[in-house]
Symmetry: C2
Subunit: 140 residues, 2 copies
DNA sequence: CAAGATTGACATTTCAATCTTT
DNA sequence: AAAGATTGAAATGTCAATCTTG
């Protein structure tokens, strides 16, 4: 079934294009993904390990991406009182502001590129991709 | 429409997972993509600029990716007699051999991860992604 | 020992500038 | 000038090892 591989190729191409072309007002695409996940999380915070699982990045990559974001006040750091191993990442006010602006631009861009598709097709696509992502072991 | 952005997030996550987890027998995912496109091309060769357009990489990235592949004999280089600006990338015998092996592994992996989806859903997904990719300006 | 997080070293890819040919 | 390709410099993210805490 060569269609399965075609799916992979399309994903690779779209990710490359998105990472370079999506207009976010000075925010990187990876940063945008991270802030978006934080914004959706309960309490606007997540463990670093959960952020890695949700985004597909490695824990190491999360640490590296967060470092400059923390430095410029987009995210904060909060310890866990009951388990000193974990440190939460919080959505800082500066991050929320930039995110709001970036999301507006991103929504506009998304409407131009995928907004023309039928909603039922989009639903099926989202379900298929979510399912595929769930079948790829994240760790190990 | 937040679903449009969800699509982007799923794409980013899947690309990250694929790049790290797809088993290709020692071949990198990007190399696999490149060899696959060459294999499908007429005459098993493509201009570098077309390879960039098909994969979503920048022309610069293509040059850099091809350099070690050329060195170990996966791809070859062929000038264009009528236009000295272009140089074709050819699928070399070594590349064809590695590709055949990698494709077998990739197909197996793909069957496990997306092979469970209904074919009609896969078709719609492919159409939607191809369409979206086509709406993102490649150059500029 | 396992889980979460980080670090050093390195691989990958982009950006902006440049070169050559049309 | 525009098109195709390449290069120096830098950003981005991985891998394997390590540290700390449970």
């Amino acid at each position: 079934m060569t269609k399965n591989l075609d799916l992979f190729f399309h994903i690779a191409k779209l990710d490359a294009l998105l990472s370079r072309k999506i207009p976010l007002g000075g925010l990187g695409f990876s940063d945008f993904v991270i802030l978006s996940h934080l914004d959706r999380a309960e309490g606007k915070k997540l463990r670093r390990i959960d952020l890695a699982e949700k985004t597909g990045f490695t824990p190491s990559g999360i640490t590296r991406l967060l470092l400059p974001m923390e430095k410029i006040g987009l995210v904060g750091r909060e310890p866990n009182p009951t388990d000193a191993r974990v440190s939460y990442v919080t959505l800082a006010p500066g991050g929320a502001t930039l995110l709001a602006d970036a999301r507006e631009r991103a929504e506009f861009f998304a409407a131009e590129t995928v907004g023309v598709a039928a909603e039922s097709d989009l639903d099926r696509t989202l379900a298929l991709l979510a399912d595929a992502g769930g079948r790829i072991a994240w760790n190990a």
